[in-house]
Symmetry: C2
Subunit: 348 residues, 2 copies
Amino acid sequence: MATIYDVARAAGVAPSTVSRHINGHSVRQSEAIERAIGTLGFRASASARNLRKGNTQVIAMIVPDIQNPYYAATVAGAEEIGRQNGLRMVLCNTDEDIDLEDDVLRDIAGRVDGAILVPASERSSTSLFDAPNAIPLVLMDRETLGKRRFDTVTIENHRGGVLAAQHLLDLGHRDVAIITGPVTASQSRARETGFLEVFANADIQVPDRFIVRGDFREAGGYQAALDILSARRRPSALFVVNNMMSMGALRAINDLRLRLPHDLSLVCFDQLPCEGVISPRLTTIRRPMEEQGAMAMRLMLTRLRAEADDDRDHEPRTLTLPVELVLGASTARAGQGAAPVTLVEDDR
Amino acid sequence: MATIYDVARAAGVAPSTVSRHINGHSVRQSEAIERAIGTLGFRASASARNLRKGNTQVIAMIVPDIQNPYYAATVAGAEEIGRQNGLRMVLCNTDEDIDLEDDVLRDIAGRVDGAILVPASERSSTSLFDAPNAIPLVLMDRETLGKRRFDTVTIENHRGGVLAAQHLLDLGHRDVAIITGPVTASQSRARETGFLEVFANADIQVPDRFIVRGDFREAGGYQAALDILSARRRPSALFVVNNMMSMGALRAINDLRLRLPHDLSLVCFDQLPCEGVISPRLTTIRRPMEEQGAMAMRLMLTRLRAEADDDRDHEPRTLTLPVELVLGASTARAGQGAAPVTLVEDDR
DNA sequence: AAAACGTGGCAACCATCTATGACGTCGCAC
DNA sequence: GTGCGACGTCATAGATGGTTGCCACGTTTT
């Protein structure tokens, strides 16, 4: 690889002049330098530049599951804002695995200027970022237990649960079930709490066997739904706190030959990977996904600027984005059972 | 951040000894050094190490659409192999945009030891990797036009098209349509060619209006399917060359109130994001997805080893993975479903 | 004529790795 | 006791490839 010295020699100037040219200062010999760069195919070494400047212009985004379209959407949002501000983004996957996450964080910490993290668990170790000179960390979606607070962009999780519950209650459902996440996941816990509170306020106690914990994955949702729906006394409505588990629940509903909303009302959280293909349209709690990623990147940008300005008092901010209930045809009045609208006959 | 000098001072040894310890040589004072590293929270600067050693132990994977579960699966496969061999992986998105791709490649080239690329188009510029001292590039799924050959892991695209066509032909379909990709995408072109050849050999010419090009995205598949299926004379079978466009086609089929396989037989390529939720089960052409990513990473590893051994004659290899036809219930014998010639009334 | 400004070169600097030569220690063979 | 090699250690110095503060120089402005 050609170095800046090769370019300087070819253009007949000093290396520092080439450097200045590259970095946007006006230079008299710029044409000659450009020509030399072109013929030599010169590209400045990222490592050398990083070493000297102490930054990389790269932000890492670390998510538990790249296969989840929700994360894919937030990534897209963050990437867009990053691009507009001259920051590259790289994506890392932790597979909902807290050890792998730790590994990734440790490894990535020296290579990027900041990290946007969706913690695998509230026990995720953010201690790497506790030091005063550590790179900035922005948390997304879930929160962690560490003593230090970080910039965070979350959503109205509690209200999401409330909206789902209120909707089902309004439709007259009293036997309801919920498929929620691990106890260590703050966001699903909030959704669950909101949901249960509404029913508790209406003097309805959701039985323990109807509160099933999954792992946010499709397979977990499938199993949880099977457990709930195979019971002798089935609930008339089901709330699933994330999209992948909703997929699994739908598969279980399909396998059990249950029809929505005739046999069961279903409320999901987040858009599913296959919206538009599923019939009936699902009733879901939605949030602005791209926007959430974008906000995380904006928080990162202001944090980076604060650091550049040596503004050490810049308080961590927590942004909470709104959720809304989007009505579909997967929920109906309890006991009535509107005519099911299936995509096609399943004639297997 | 603590440097290696700080550690040396704290442990009472020379910096070079710390370096040796870190790099796995046996050192007498290793406990003292470890202790110093621990108390100082020392992490070797990635930039300095990269600059000195000339490598990063990071591989970039660059895909056109992280939202596509097929890519997500290949990423998982590649990541696993990489992890087993001490390589970190980062993921970049190009949004099927050839300019953005160029940007990403240019930017990433100096930061990683190698790149696994799913080119956005066969016109994608791989010239950055033409130089004899450039970092290795492994192509996945699609190929490019450049004169230089690269390690490539592809699948039996042509045979996939043949299998789909043969299946439909065996079922007696003669009026068939295909939703394919841009002409510049080698993989969809091969699928398309295989498909059309089978029918041509049976003296069946697929009319041009039934060969529609999409952009591999859901919206493109939707529009293409609408175009095809709104025609006065509808085909009795449809082949869609990728999963996202299949999702769009399914949505169109839904909107048009067509029933599978009664009104239309459908064959898709690759697993859809929502397998298991869709009814009926789709007839699809499948390939080993994780395995494809894993093979790409293995090619990368052997290539990196060859470079380390200064084995410059190591010929680029092309691996081709098998596809298979997985029967579902979205295809049926032609005419049996009494494929209607006119559109079903839309009663909304 | 003096001040301001654009420009270019020199050299220091970023954090790490490594080659070199010198040195001490140890075990072992003579 | 001496010689020898293996080994671990040290200090030093050079190298990696850029960036940047400082100064000198020349040109332009006031």
